[in-house]
Symmetry: C2
Subunit: 133 residues, 2 copies
């Protein structure tokens, strides 16, 4: 297991990159709109983890509402697991509550979210990469 990414909700990507890229010096790997998730994302790889800066495309979606309620900051962390079915089964057997059940991205990545009530205040994504082609 390792930390796959740390997602940070921001209001403006250019202003955020002025800090993370220009002042802190992290290289931007990619920047794109992900319409299915309603966000524009700047991906900043840092070793085996990456920072993801998320700007909501719609103030009414989950990232938009997070910003409205909490302001900018860490939205979730994502843990890469080998077997997401087994990980979720083990969590649920231990009484943990999921915020979102297992779903798939178009590339075959599978993901789920643990409810912060169970993970002590941390919205935690679990992520299993697709099998190698």
């Amino acid at each position: 297991m390792h930390i796959h990414h740390i997602a940070i909700a921001v209001k403006d990507l250019d202003e955020s990159l002025a800090f993370y890229r220009d002042a802190l010096g992290i290289t931007v790997g990619e920047r794109k709109e992900v319409l299915a998730e309603g966000v524009e994302i700047a991906f900043l790889p840092m070793g085996e983890t990456e920072l993801e800066l998320l700007r909501p495309l719609d103030p009414e979606n989950s990232i938009g509402r997070f910003l409205e309620k909490r302001g900018e900051g860490i939205h979730h962390i994502c843990v890469a697991v080998e077997d997401i079915e087994a990980a979720v089964a083990k969590l649920e057997a231990a009484g943990a509550r999921m915020a979102a059940e297992i779903r798939s991205h178009p590339d075959g990545t599978r993901y789920a979210f643990v409810h912060p009530k169970s993970s002590h205040g941390v919205l935690m994504e679990l992520y299993q990469k697709p099998p190698e082609a």
Copy 2:
């Protein structure tokens, strides 16, 4: 640069470990009281990053006040840098505000904190490991 650790403020280490260690399956590397920082910490290494669960030893210290005000959750993330003097100088030249200037731990580690106003809502520690003996 890489993410050195993610620090999570918690009320009770045993309850938190029931989730992070027992249900999620992360191995605990070490658990100790760090009196100089007023916390008991469980260190959970995950590849090149680690999760640190922080329990305040005093409800009036900074972690205790964070818990009182915000509840459990991510307190800060720490970025390992090669040259902390250069990193802080570059941040300050770009107009970023530090929450704490550069200090040293007894082991020679040097660290500083960027104010969340500058890092878009993320309390960010910078960390430079001591020179190899």
